[in-house]
Symmetry: C2
Subunit: 270 residues, 2 copies
């Protein structure tokens, strides 16, 4: 699908995120109401394919959501995945690592949460944090970043070899849009719980983040684990595009319907 491919990151090509417009709406079909109707339709289709995924238990799907603060990771989960059967779907939110997690390699805490056959797992933040904030803060040097990016490639290949499809979405907002969203949270006491003053510190390093994001995306976008830039200044468009990508990833598995079991022929229930 060409609409998709122009937002897919090519492996190994250096890239500038500024060349992607965060206000673009490549998947919009017109007004917001039309787009919301399409999201509802996609959500239903995702639900139907998920049932098949769950019933056949051969393949699995890992969805990675990354983006700057307020880019809408939580909102995407709520919009795209509400409406599907929570049995067979797991959302895993990765926070700052605990003491025990820091005493292991950086993929240890992630590995235990990857989806089993039949499952969808959604990572709200992920192992990519370990090549993002760590670089911006200077906690690791370039050589260590290179090693980690290679480990990520090998790790994702391991998952793909076991039948896991991997879809990675970078929710792309502008610095102005982040300002508006942070101000909205400050202005509304009911949204204070979403506001962390540390977000203002990260915001000061906006350009550095854009830079390390670009490097990480380029170094780890592979045919079996592509990165997509999702223009996310419009929440509706962001949800719409992620839903399209998820359905595409599920349909790409070409799952057969559950098979009849010949051993059950002629069996009677007493």
């Amino acid at each position: 699908m060409t609409r998709l491919s122009s937002w897919r990151i090519a492996h190994g090509h250096s890239l500038a995120l500024s060349s992607f417009d965060p206000s673009a709406k490549p998947f919009s079909q017109g007004d917001k109401a039309t787009d919301k109707a399409r999201i509802a339709e996609l959500s239903e289709q995702i639900g139907a394919v998920q049932e098949r995924l769950y019933a056949t238990r051969q393949r699995s799907l890992l969805i990675v959501l990354q983006g700057m603060d307020t880019s809408g990771k939580d909102g995407t989960v709520r919009s795209v995945f509400s409406g599907i059967n929570p049995q067979g779907v797991r959302v895993v939110s990765f926070k700052a690592p605990t003491q025990e997690e820091r005493e292991h390699d950086f993929l240890w805490r992630v590995h235990r949460h990857v989806p089993a056959a039949g499952e969808i797992a959604i990572f709200n933040r992920s192992h990519y944090e370990d090549v993002l904030i760590t670089r911006v803060k200077g906690w690791i040097d370039d050589a260590e970043a290179e090693r980690r990016l290679a480990h990520i490639r090998h790790f994702e290949q391991l998952l793909a070899d076991r039948g896991t499809a991997i879809l990675k979405c970078f929710l792309h907002i502008s610095k102005d849009e982040q300002k508006a969203r942070l101000e909205e949270r400050l202005a509304d006491p009911a949204k204070h719980w979403k506001f962390d003053p540390a977000d203002l510190v990260e915001r000061k390093a906006w350009d550095d983040y854009q830079c390390v994001y670009a490097e990480a995306l380029s170094a780890t976008s592979e045919a079996h684990a592509p990165w997509y830039v999702v223009p996310a200044n419009s929440k509706t468009h962001r949800n719409l595009m992620v839903a399209e990508l998820v359905l595409e990833a599920l349909q790409g598995m070409k799952l057969e319907p559950p098979q009849a079991n010949p051993a059950l022929a002629g069996m009677k229930v007493a």
Copy 2:
């Protein structure tokens, strides 16, 4: 609510499940369409309270679903919990224990999956299997069953002391209804994946299961962790009653809206 209390198991009173009609519809408001509309309404209300639970991160909710094969544990999850934000809800299905799990006490594998503050966890089967199938098969004697029931009471008290509300639902179907559902699965190749010939073996022990269920429910139904018998021959009624119970449990927490944070007063976004 009196409708609820007459289906709640009283602690320590001996009981016969045969005194509960699996075809009853105490929560029905008339025809199926009306009941389905009510389920949709409840699902929306559950979603709204769940947001508050998630935002305030003080309390948590554990929902235990038990019942004979085909009683509709999976279907209940799909119907009642599709439509709410999967972030903050986890469904855990307990299968036959693994070797590692068998090498620990019976609550070990369960404990790690209980809900954190702000979360809802749904157990599809649970630690109760360890006082059900184990007794029917004669793997444990009465003294061990007594010990385990006491451990379950203490364990659930531990969770309640930390702020976890516990709701336990026994999905109650008749032996004839199970026959019809098993035959339906056999007749439809697309449902073969749900059919396990071992279910026919368990079915032969139907009366034994009803008996050990009655003992377990009576021994572990407490004010902070009540068991409800949910008449489940009608799938719509089953979903409706579980949704009413879940909303009641959430509302019983009397969650306050998220609080304003005074530390954010006057803060500016640069």
